[in-house]
Assembly symmetry: D2
């Protein structure tokens, strides 16, 4: 039986989702990775799971999509587990930038030229170079295993069409990676690092997978259903903080004001968000606003957060 608030959510969600969906036509599906441009522009789905494992699915929650930037939360955590805080923050900063997610300005303008935070592209590429493993494939498989563990879905896998599409066209990410290499930020071969990066961006999921991963974060690394500790609490705390200050690209500040929850979006239209101690939420809505976040998804999360007073602040 659902808890009272879950019951309320379940009742109101169809109407709210319908209402948020109307925003889809004001956005655009991502086109910079050719394969992503095939996503359905008017889709919107959400999956919410609580500490008892009860869940609510609504709309196009069954749609498969690639994690894209959502995966950066988990490579950050894995890099922290592999290297410790000090080594990671020697190469990546902790500050929001106010710039586009793929901007290189601050790498040139602000010494010592390390990425400002691990959730912008430059930072996430640096993080990819810190995943342990003897080669790019082993690193990629470690990331995949970690995501399978957190999502409790052993069939999670790379969408190789998206992976190849991004790898073939991602010259701006290549540019960034060589800049980082020149600045002494990247370890190893640029193309190997990028391979790890493109692969973790291309992991294919549904809203339920994202919600399950989010649930672990909502419980500070513990799986509330099994009692297993999957991530050290401090690393979850770091991840949640970055999700709050930098998780929604250069609309993170506005999201904090309007929604107030730790979250991470991807250009596939996915959003992972959590209500700390309570829910894990996975959402997908491929139509993006001009900052790169799901236009209908942000609207729906705002309705939910304001109605149920979920803001951290």
């Amino acid at each position: 039986m659902l808890a009272p608030e879950m019951n309320q959510i379940k009742k109101m969600l169809p109407l709210w989702l319908e209402s948020s969906k109307r925003h889809c036509s004001n956005g655009k599906v991502a086109s910079y990775i050719p394969e992503l441009s095939k996503s359905p522009i008017d889709a919107l789905g959400i999956h919410i799971v609580d500490s008892n494992g009860h869940s609510i699915s609504e709309g196009d929650a069954g749609l498969s999509f690639t994690m894209q930037s959502i995966s950066k939360v988990f490579t950050l955590i894995l890099a922290l587990m592999d290297n410790g805080e000090e080594a990671v923050f020697d190469k990546v900063g902790m500050e929001p930038t106010g710039d586009n997610f793929n901007s290189m300005l601050k790498l040139e303008l602000v010494q010592p030229g390390i990425p400002f935070n691990p959730l912008i592209n430059a930072g996430a590429i640096a993080i990819s170079s810190m995943i342990a493993g003897k080669d790019a494939l082993e690193k990629s498989e470690r990331v995949l295993s970690f995501l399978r563990l957190l999502s409790n879905n052993s069939s999670l896998n790379w969408d190789l069409d998206v992976y190849r599409s991004e790898s073939a066209t991602a010259n701006l990410n290549r540019s960034m990676a060589y800049f980082l290499k020149d600045n002494g930020v990247l370890k190893g071969e640029v193309e190997h690092v990028l391979d790890v990066y493109f692969r973790h961006c291309s992991v294919s999921v549904t809203c339920a997978d994202i919600a399950q991963m989010a649930l672990i974060l909502a419980h500070n690394g513990l799986n509330p259903l099994t009692g297993d500790v999957l991530i050290p609490r401090r690393y979850v705390q770091i991840a949640k903080t970055f999700m709050t200050t930098c998780g929604m690209y250069n609309a993170s500040g506005e999201f904090a004001i309007q929604v107030g929850l730790p979250a991470k979006s991807g250009v596939s239209g996915g959003i992972l968000t959590i209500v700390p101690g309570r829910y894990g939420i996975g959402l997908v809505g491929p139509s993006l606003n001009r900052k790169g976040n799901s236009i209908a998804g942000v609207d729906l999360l705002q309705s939910l957060s304001q109605q149920f007073d979920w803001s951290l602040f």
Copy 2:
């Protein structure tokens, strides 16, 4: 009688303060306002007040200092009360910038050229122009009255030496104000707006005053001692969110990771911070790190937050 955690704080604080104080020599007292350069470089004081009005003072808590940027939290709130959210956010954004607090880069680089958020100088100047009042003096007096109300200290006043010192030398703020005027962001005469701005920066306080104002924010606008609602809750929520994402200049991201509390610093070395629902904290330590925050103060807050697990995240 103090609550158990307050008791523990009281016991450990002298030692911790002593330890944090050692960092003072690694920082510098602000010099860009000549009058501020007279502040004692090795001072460090803190005042913590809880919901019952019990308080702890340690170190140089009795030192008088000017609010400087700490006042921006309250002019933001007053501007919201005077104009509503929509009017305010028409002229000021919600995003952290990653740039210095007095940077003008984004005003030129990012259209439509409004300040990125209300806590950087450009944003706070824009906010000063939105305070209601028939002239600069009336506006300034309304801000002062509001601060007196929140601090429960009717003798709060402007430090006219600091006010004149800043007014005479603040050519960078003048530059910013004229840029904003040119971009159509500022209402009214530039010098009148700046007068309001310089005055609210120059309000003289002690740690106890700041702690008392913080206590109101910690209780979402309610004075827990009297039951009076002094600020609408939504505006406190907005303020706390900005304090978390932008409150510590371009070290806000790091402060969120290491301390995890809504806070606002000033170049006088003051810091206002809150433990939501529980404490209001006022701190002063004029020796600043290179980002402009009290070097010993940040260290002390980090010790407290980590020891007592205060982070929001």
Copy 3:
């Protein structure tokens, strides 16, 4: 009797001017100084004077217009005469910027924060502060006298409507001036410096006046008609170099490739250019291209330079 090339110019000019005039509709009259927006968008006039004092006028050469940025060439020269090279280049650099004439980016980004060159707004404002004189009016009168001398027109005067219009609206220039003041570049009161600046920009001329001033530059400071040396040769050399590298805003590089003559444009649509050793040329065409230069004027100068092989290069 006209020299052979002058004769040829005289014959072809009506046709070429007619042809260049067609570009007027693709540009816009400057609007940032309200008074300038009244200029006739389809006007185009030119006046060419040679070493013997023979001249050719065509089109709207009789139109009065304000010198605007053209005056910067002469305040630079006067500042050099008043202060010497070393003092001037201590506060103003020698490099083109690639940025808009009113950009402030490099003042913040590139240490030591002095203007890159004397022909962008920031540089010209710094130059205005170096003109000798006991107060703003005396400085302005010295500039005016110098322009009267060079143009051999004792009735040159300020257009006070334009002066007031610019002074009332030039908040971006004010912003720049305060920034320079903060960086220690400006001597004296900002408003006094700006007053000098606005006044020399507002000197009202015709194409013949500009051509006569240009003739002096074309002869390295000597008036070829009287034999008087009005400017030391080295300062003319400096001025001609800046006119070549920075004279046409951030289209100076293109103008050097396509026309190849030292020139200075103004937002009123005026252009001063010279054929070294030979001609002084004054031109007006208020319709501007997006870089701020007379759209028809640049076209006409390109035709003339390419036909008569005038490029320095």
Copy 4:
């Protein structure tokens, strides 16, 4: 027999060179290409050739060095000969930038994201992609043949140690190239384009070779000794203009003021300059000032130009 001015130069050169050489200790040999760091820091040599083929050599004129950025003048000319003006300037602008030669800022900040001019690294890489040839090697060989023709030295060749050293370490150039690829500026494979670029930078020369190439530019494309037209005059004019506005990195403006001659420097310490219609000059002095130009070389050219009144302006 030497012409009178050449005779005078010959007499004074030993003394002046000795004097300029003293500046060497205030500069640094380039280190960003490891192989270049082996250059002798206190070397200074010059070779001047006139229209009759008479020449003067002084100092370390026999030193071999790689052309580095000097080669960009000739790849620009070859790209113009291969593609015409319109095609070239569709992908590369004509403006000086004021930024470092390896800056990427304007590529991101200024639409449409094409390099500002063909002499900064980004522009020269774009130019390398326009050289005709069926593959990287054929393109490189065409450039080499062109340089052999102009220098009248059929044994000119690549310094493969420098080529490999640069290719192995040039991650910033790689970054730039991928950025250009992403912006649609580069044709072909990035690594192929870079191979062409690294090879033409690595052509090994002496001052006499550079002087001979310069002589052709000084005579607008004609070899004055044979009467052969080796380059269309218009393309030499374009090259000379860029050498004047952008040839000495972001010290081009100052060089124009102090020397006033078209010139191009390289990080190997080489400088090519011309006295139009008269001399071709090759110079080498590996100790660089902070803008990347030969510190003693610039000083020597300033002495020569001011003494003999060579400035174009």
